[in-house]
Subunit: 206 residues, 2 copies
DNA sequence: ATCAACCGGAATGTCGTCGTCCACTTGTGG
DNA sequence: CCACAAGTGGACGACGACATTCCGGTTGAT
């Protein structure tokens, strides 16, 4: 691979991440190309179609999640604070938009992404461990679960443009409110809870 | 106005409300027409452009909000439960999408909508009263305010298609979590709160 | 019975985006 | 320094999704 080609590839990946974060998976290819300072032709030679590009983004994304979780877990004084910090970080719309993009991807795209799946699973397991610890510590309600944390993280995972302005401006406020709602102290007195029969069971996004 | 024309008008209004609720303000006019069992021509004769249609929807919407609030307030045993019930009702994405549609409207559209503004103000005042009462009762944290309640209500006010599936399926779970986070018991121990210096001050949607 | 009001939806025009293609430029090995 | 394979950019044709117009046919009211 020629040196300039390599450089362009890097620029494209970077630009794609940025553009998709702010406009979603459907962002015009030309926008991405321009942001990378490159012609559409170049973009299409590297990634034959949009899905190829998104898939490449996915690798990055899931790795960064796993890393962030580990970091939060080891730095925080206890499981619950670690969880809180992580959710606040990961729930930022800019990051979430990429998750949304990945979720829109047709399944075929993932056929040969074994590593992706592996990383994802490991990450989920660690998250689950953290949740259990927080609950064991008596800091977190027992009637919310790992799935809820994941949901929370992905709550605002859509194009920032389609988020109500209140949220786009201060996502952390709402995430914080929900985290407060997950604290042990906030457990319902009677039938006043988050309104469900336990866990959210749908498939998650990330 | 001829009887059949009148009938069609009603059908259009009803269909527009339904379609906009599920597809946002930008929903194809033809879709609305078809849902109403009417040709696009008819739709355009009644409402010269999309904004006219949205404005008409707005009247309905704000009235229904005001009514619902009154209902909740008088039926609930106390201010906090009334608030909770109202938010759960009003925060449903189907309803919220119309609010989003209204918010997208260019300002000129509202020039001659004095009644709209009046109803809106009255509604906001009552909501504020309810919040104060809930706080006075010691059921609601003092560091969240009316604006937050409104934000909450409009949190999921966007086209359901662009909501993460988790949310679209169970909006009440997340609303419930946030409401729990607003309860007095969930107040932060120290710097652990919803992450802000008080109220959200941006302009609200409804 | 008459006719103005009303209707449906085909037709037209616009817009934004995709993905291809090729004439031109540039890095690199000899 | 050269020759040429590798790489580049962006004009271009095709497309699909929509808004809006227009008019021949239909229907309610008198």
């Amino acid at each position: 691979m020629r040196a300039d080609a390599r450089r362009n590839l890097d620029k494209i990946v970077e630009a794609a991440a940025a553009v998709m974060a702010e406009r979603g998976a459907g962002a015009p290819m030309e926008l991405i190309a321009r942001r990378a300072g490159v012609g559409v032709g170049t973009l299409y030679r590297r990634f034959p179609d949009r899905n190829a590009l998104i898939a490449a983004m996915g690798q990055h994304y899931v790795h960064s999640l796993a890393e962030a979780l580990d970091r939060a877990a080891e730095r925080a004084p206890d499981a619950w604070s670690g969880l809180r910090e992580f959710v606040l970080w990961a729930g930022d719309p800019g990051r979430g938009a990429l998750a949304a993009a990945l979720a829109e991807l047709p399944d075929e795209t993932f056929l040969n992404m074994a590593e992706f799946a592996r990383t994802r699973r490991r990450w989920l397991e660690r998250l689950d461990g953290l949740v259990r610890r927080a609950q064991a510590d008596g800091r977190m309600r027992p009637d919310v679960g790992t799935e809820d944390v994941v949901s929370l993280m992905n709550l605002f995972a859509c194009h920032p443009d389609s988020l109500p302005p209140h949220v786009a401006e201060r996502p952390a406020r709402f995430l914080g409110l929900m985290l407060d709602g997950m604290k042990a102290e906030a457990a319902e007195a009677a039938g006043d809870g988050p309104g469900g029969t336990g866990m959210v069971t749908g498939s998650s996004r990330v």
